[in-house]
Each structure stands twice: as structure tokens, then as C-alpha cells.
């Protein structure tokens, strides 16, 4: 029997990011995904990033590493401003660089929701 896939979200930064994460989450739920908290270990992690300060950049790296550790088969998708601006920087972060489970995608994907 197949179970419903699960998804967890984390939003960094502004109110706009919060509204967009919600819109993305709604799409996942409408397509049968079960929404879980970040702590609970989901099949898919979506991290919506911010790049307004270097502090926001650093938090992103920490979250991606945490998400990769929650479940050894989880896929982690990094979207948002930092992913748009410096995708290779995220891909090269320690703990992220060796994992094909992590993908960093720019605005096109986020905008198409």
C-alpha cells in the first residue's frame, strides 16, 4: 500500500515569503501531500530563503543541513531569494555539497508554484 507523501516547510525573511510558502503548501496539500512540522521528518522539505542580510544567508545553510539529517531519504528543495541569487554558494556549503538529495532552484520554479 502506498502512503501519502509528506512535506515540511520553513520560511525565512519577510511577510511576502510567508504568503508564498502558504500558497506552495496549499498546492502540495491539494495534491495529496500530508503537511508535517519541520521536526517530524518529511519526504520533502521546502526551505524558502531570504538574502536581505548575511545572517539570513547563514541560517539557510544551517536549515538545509538540519533537514538533510531529519530523514536519510528526504529531498530538500531550496527556493527563494538566496537560492535565486547564489545557488552555487548554497550547493557548495559544507554538508550540502555532497548530497544529491538537495536541490537549489531559482525563481522560475517558485513562481510557477
Amino acid at each position: 500500500m502506498t502512503r501519502n507523501p509528506s512535506v515540511a516547510f520553513y520560511t525565512l525573511g519577510c511577510k511576502l515569503n510567508f504568503s508564498e510558502t502558504s500558497a506552495i503548501a496549499r498546492q502540495f496539500e491539494e495534491n495529496g501531500y500530508q503537511k508535517k512540522s519541520f521536526e517530524d521528518g518529511a519526504d520533502v522539505y521546502v526551505i524558502n530563503t531570504c538574502s536581505v542580510t548575511d545572517n539570513a544567508d547563514r541560517k539557510c545553510g544551517k536549515l538545509v543541513r538540519q533537514a538533510l539529517k531529519k530523514r536519510e531519504d528526504a529531498k530538500v528543495v531550496v527556493i527563494g531569494c538566496y537560492a535565486q541569487l547564489r545557488p552555487d554558494e548554497i550547493a557548495g556549503m559544507p554538508g550540502v555539497d555532497k548530497s544529491s538529495r538537495c536541490s537549489i532552484t531559482s525563481t522560475i520554479c517558485k513562481s510557477n508554484l
Binding site: 511577510k15 508564498e20 510558502t21 550540502v96 532552484t105 531559482s106
Partner: protein
């Protein structure tokens, strides 16, 4: 996004993270959104991207040019929100005063921000709207006067200043001088003496001398504003400011941040103090924080009340009693419930 996730599941396992990069120049569309999960309040996106070229800011490179939803579509979303139990809508965007350039952006405005707020004010079932943040040069008298007589737009503005020194405002490539800012604050307070005004300010921008910083400090100290959001400047690759000389040492940036945060606490206390004894409407939120329930008045005074689940997401007529030791305001509640 879901197709993309499905594609990912089929990716062969390799030994490096995958990057799907696309140029921000290709983004010529608009996607609507609003937040959910909070019973009390939602962030409703009305605009995205920015056509300004502020020297410190990386967001136009991340989000593209200024695009907007249409008035009709925002109203439709507000009607959906009105059908839920959410009582407060916060209008959200990157530069919402620049609303109206259409889904793909452009130089010509098809609609104006004032058209949007007029239309939203007529949506039944939304109790409150907040305009999250609006550039001072786009905050027209027309908008201020509309909010002053509006049924639903609350007396609260958040207006970025960034610096109180004209020299720094020029270097930052902001589109106004401090005199314009002071004039906007005056206009707001003339029409709405009770209005809460929040200010964004950056400290430690390249070339900011002690004198420039003190100009900001003194300007804000004199200005009738209610609180500050203080940002410690941080270099962003690819911005004009990143190439400017005269970086401010990190310790100095931190000290200036500390000073302005102190000023903010003082400003907020003064603002709260002015309203002690007055009657206000408070929208209570849901979180139980150490036995307290919190809420905000229309003009953004944060109040506390002993936790009572029956009060969650209720709007009540209250009297502001005193500033408590945690900085929030204690209230006396009447039984009168304000219907949504």
C-alpha cells in the same frame, strides 16, 4: 513546483547538490498568494519585485522588476479570506506603493495603490487591513486622507527611512530627503493623531560617519514616530554599496544598532503611554505565552490579558490600563464583542 518534485524523485543519485538556475530577467509574470495557518491574520500578496535601485538592496536581483496583481483579483482573494475566520489582512509586497504596473511590470501604471485600498475597503467581512510598509515618496496625501476616514484600514503605517542624513540618503540612492519624510509624518499625525508609525532604519552603511549617525539619531529622536526596525548594514554581493569605499567597522555597526534599538524602546513606551486610559479595540491572538494571551489595538499597541481560550480571535472593546513589566499593556475588558 509539484512536477518539479516528481522529476527530482527520478534523478539518479549523484554526489552533489543539484542547481536549477534561471535568470531573473526571464521572470515576467505574477503569482498571487496569501498566508494561512494563523486564525487571526493573513499576509496578502499584492505586488512583487522592485524597480528602485537602492544601493544596499539585493532584492530586485532576486525578485525581478515591479509586478502587481490586479485590483479585481486582490478583491477576489480578500472575499475568499472574508469567508474564513481570519479578521485581519496585512497587504504585502516588496514595494506596495508602486502597485499597478500589471502582471508583467513595465513603466506605465495601469492602476494605482489608492484604487486598490478603496476597493478593498468595501469588502464585507474583513475587519481590519494593515498596509505593511510603504515608501515615503509614494505615501501620498490621498492615501493618508483615505486611511483616516476608512472603515477598515487601521491607523498604522510602516515607512522606511533608512537614514536621517541627506548625504547618506543620496549615497543609498533613496528617492527622497529627510524633509520629505518629516513632512509625511506630519501629514499622518495631522489627520490621525493616534496613528502608529514604524520606521525602518539602516546603520553602518559605507561611509556613515559618527556625525551622519548622530544626524539619524537626532532626527528620529525629534520625530513623532512610534517604533524602529533597526537593520545592521551587511554587504550584499552585486549591489552598488558593496563597491563603495569606507566600510564601517563591525563593532561600530553593532554599537549604533544598540543605540537605535534603545531609542526604539523609548519611542514605543512614549507612544503606549499616550494611550493609557483610552478605549481601544483589541484583536486577541491565539498563542499562550507563559499564561498570557496577546493582541493588538487598531493602532498597534500590543496588549496582554490572562490566557482565556474563549477570547482567541475575538475583538473586544478594552481600556488600556498600564504598561506592564514585559513592555506590553495591561487591559480591562468589557463584555462587548465586536462582530467580525
Amino acid at each position: 513546483m509539484l512536477d518539479y518534485i516528481n522529476d527530482l524523485q527520478e534523478q539518479p543519485v549523484t554526489d552533489k547538490a543539484l542547481v536549477y538556475a534561471s535568470s531573473i530577467d526571464e521572470v515576467d509574470f505574477y503569482v498571487d498568494a496569501y498566508s494561512y495557518g494563523d486564525r487571526t491574520r493573513t499576509f496578502l500578496k499584492v505586488q512583487d519585485g522592485c524597480d528602485y535601485g537602492c544601493a544596499f538592496c539585493t532584492i530586485p536581483m532576486a525578485r525581478g522588476n515591479s509586478r502587481s496583481d490586479t485590483v479585481d483579483n486582490v478583491v477576489e482573494q480578500a472575499e475568499n479570506i472574508a469567508a474564513s475566520e481570519v479578521r485581519e489582512v496585512v497587504l504585502t509586497g516588496v514595494n506596495i506603493g508602486d502597485f499597478g504596473k500589471g502582471n508583467s511590470g513595465g513603466r506605465k501604471k495601469q492602476e494605482q495603490f489608492i484604487d486598490l485600498i478603496r476597493a478593498l475597503d468595501d469588502v464585507e467581512g474583513i475587519e481590519r487591513y494593515r498596509i505593511s510598509s510603504i515608501e515615503p515618496n509614494l505615501l501620498t496625501n490621498e492615501i493618508i486622507e483615505f486611511v483616516a476616514q476608512s472603515k477598515r484600514f487601521v491607523p498604522h503605517f510602516h515607512v522606511p527611512l533608512q537614514s536621517g542624513s541627506n548625504k547618506m540618503l543620496n549615497k543609498m540612492r533613496r528617492r527622497y530627503l529627510r524633509e520629505l519624510y518629516a513632512d509625511r509624518v506630519d501629514a499622518i499625525k495631522t489627520h490621525m493623531p493616534d496613528c502608529c508609525i514604524g520606521v525602518d532604519v539602516i546603520v553602518g552603511f559605507p561611509g556613515e560617519t559618527e556625525e551622519d549617525f548622530l544626524a539619524t539619531y537626532n532626527f528620529l529622536n525629534e520625530l513623532d514616530v512610534s517604533y524602529l526596525h533597526v537593520f545592521t548594514y551587511s554587504e550584499r554581493p552585486g549591489t552598488a554599496a558593496a563597491g563603495m569605499g569606507g566600510p564601517v567597522p563591525n563593532e561600530v555597526r553593532k554599537e549604533r544598532t544598540r543605540m537605535l534599538r534603545g531609542l526604539s524602546a523609548k519611542k514605543r513606551r512614549y507612544f503606549y503611554d499616550q494611550h493609557i486610559g483610552s478605549q481601544r479595540q483589541v484583536l486577541m491572538e491565539s498563542e499562550n505565552k507563559d499564561g498570557w494571551l496577546h493582541g493588538f489595538t487598531e493602532n498597534y499597541v500590543k496588549v496582554r490579558f490572562p490566557y482565556d481560550a474563549a477570547l482567541i480571535n475575538q475583538t473586544r472593546q478594552v481600556t488600556l490600563q498600564q504598561i506592564a513589566d514585559d513592555g506590553n499593556v495591561d487591559i480591562v475588558m468589557t463584555d462587548e464583542q465586536i462582530p467580525a
